[in-house]
């Protein structure tokens, strides 16, 4: 049956037509289309990779920021602590110094008192001596008339005037 018998003419023309079609479409259609699609896919891939890299960079940057912030916070804390310490130390120092000064002053005062006291005692001694001499003079003057009495008086007075 000639429905299933291939005719030579159509085979001949199909070979020629198909080869022309293949050649021309390959050169003018498939190459530009596939090339453009490929390059577009490449550029999309690149763009995605770049976006991913940027995202990562951003994350790094944020992490860095966080780190810097943390450092600053730590430093502040440290500085605050130092300041507090200094304050405490200063107060302590001041107190110490005040105490020292006071003690010194007290000591000086005590020394002064002591020396004053010594001076006073010496003065007193001098005065007592002077007084005694005056008294003695007066007594001597008064009692010289009466020898017995004079002696008795001197004895009496000396007995009474005990030096402290």
């Amino acid at each position: 049956m000639d429905l299933v018998t291939p005719g030579f003419g159509l085979v001949f023309w199909t070979v020629i037509t198909f080869l022309i079609l293949l050649f021309i479409l390959k050169k003018f259609a498939w190459k530009p289309i596939l090339g453009a699609v490929n390059s577009r896919e490449e550029s999309i891939k690149d763009a995605l990779a770049a976006a991913e890299a940027a995202r990562r960079e951003m994350e790094n940057l944020q992490a860095d920021n966080e780190k810097i912030l943390q450092e600053a916070r730590n430093e502040r804390e440290l500085m605050m602590k130092e300041a507090r310490d200094i304050k405490v130390k200063m107060v302590a120092d001041a107190r110490e110094e005040a105490k020292f000064t006071t003690e010194k002053m007290i000591l000086q005062a005590q020394e002064a008192i002591q020396s004053e006291k010594k001076a006073a005692v010496a003065e007193l001694k001098n005065q007592v001596a002077t007084l005694s001499l005056e008294i003695a003079e007066k007594v001597v003057k008064h009692e010289l008339s009466n020898k017995d009495q004079q002696e008795k008086l001197v004895q009496e007075m000396l007995g009474k005037a005990t030096l402290n």
């Binding site: 530009p32 453009a36 699609v37 550029s43």
Partner: protein, 362 residues
């Protein structure tokens, strides 16, 4: 295209089919003055022809004459097919370049020397004539060239848009073409052949897919009146032969080893498998050839047979049933146009993949 436009077009197409078939039938009846012969009508539609027949209105046949090109003992002989005056029963004798030619059922016969008219034997075959070497531009060749031009228009037009700008986003015709091209690449070429080697086969696969698809669609357009290129075994044989040649020439060591000395099986099995595998080399392209031819031709025959029912019963009352059924078949055929192109392409890609596959063992 929106749905309404599509529907309108579809109804139009159907009406034209009907009228075309009817006109053909009327013509046959009036000329032959005999009973309607559905087989002859269907075969006439499915097979190739020397004129590009468009329509018959009343007794007038409208067709585009195509050149007849023959190689006879007197050398190249050419004339227009209109010289036969639409006769395809071997009655009209054309004298040219010292030879007498007749068109007998859309095959050109050269009458033997001395014969004046064609004599037909008891087996319905010419007695006193032989077939010269015939490379005429038949309606199938004509249609093939139209499809070639359409493919050039679509794809070179689309490609030109890509040249205009870097990273062009598909618009217009390119937005129609690109998904199809990507489909061939991502769903056919890469899975079947593999990421490494598919590029070499892409032009062939793309060309074959769109060539078959477009001609399948053209075969469904009734005004073309049965320029049934993809339902012609010569056409499918040629394309299958291309696939066969490419497969055979891309076959690597591994491919031939699997055919002649199957690895991983015992020696008696190797000997047993060898002839089967050798036959397999040829059955693959033969199956490609028959599948496309049979699917497309069968679809056409069914539609024409359903239409013929109207004339067999000779009643307009049968028409709604015939039209409904052939509508159904045509819808299936529209799907089949793409499916058969897809199957031909994917099987070709599969064979290329098998020929270039590299693996250590089964």
């Amino acid at each position: 295209m929106n749905l309404r436009a599509f529907r309108t077009l579809f109804l139009g197409v159907l009406l034209i089919t009907y009228s075309a078939v009817k006109a053909e039938v009327t013509n046959t009846e009036q000329k032959e003055e005999k009973k309607f012969d559905p087989k002859e009508m269907i075969m006439h539609h499915v097979k190739d022809a020397y004129t590009f027949h468009i329509i018959d209105i009343h007794d007038q046949s409208y067709s585009i004459p195509l050149p007849v090109i023959l190689w006879t003992e007197n050398g190249l002989t050419t004339f227009m097919s209109s010289a036969f005056h639409h006769d395809y029963h071997g009655k009209e004798v054309v004298e040219k370049n010292g030879g007498r030619f007749v068109n007998f059922h859309e095959k050109i016969y050269q009458l033997d020397a001395g014969a004046a008219t064609l004599e037909i034997g008891a087996d319905e075959k010419p007695v006193n004539a032989h077939k010269p070497l015939d490379i005429s531009i038949t309606r199938n060749v004509f249609m093939m060239w139209i499809s070639m031009l359409v493919l050039f228009l679509i794809f070179i037009g689309a490609a030109r848009k890509y040249k205009k700008s870097e990273n062009f986003i598909p618009k217009g015709i390119a937005s129609f073409v690109e998904p199809l091209v990507l489909f061939i690449r991502d769903e056919i070429a890469i899975p079947m052949i593999g990421e490494k080697k598919y590029k070499k086969y892409m032009p062939y696969l793309l060309t074959v897919f769109f060539f078959i698809w477009l001609n399948n669609i053209f075969g469904l357009i009734p005004i073309v009146n049965g320029a049934n290129l993809t339902g012609n075994i010569a056409f499918t044989m040629t394309l299958a032969l291309f696939t066969f040649v490419i497969t055979t020439f891309s076959g690597n060591k591994n491919y031939w080893k699997h055919i002649f000395w199957m690895p991983g099986v015992p020696v008696p099995m190797k000997i047993f498998l060898m002839p089967i595998e050798i036959i397999g080399i040829f059955t693959k392209p033969i199956s490609l050839m028959i599948r496309l031819f049979a699917n497309i031709t069968a679809g056409h025959i069914i539609v024409l047979a359903l239409m013929s029912l109207i004339f067999i019963f000779n009643s307009i009352a049968v028409a709604p049933i015939s039209v409904a059924f052939s509508l159904f078949i045509i819808v299936i055929e529209i799907v089949v146009t793409a499916i058969q192109a897809y199957i031909f392409t994917i099987l070709s890609a599969l064979y290329f993949g098998m020929a270039t596959e590299e693996h250590e063992h089964h």
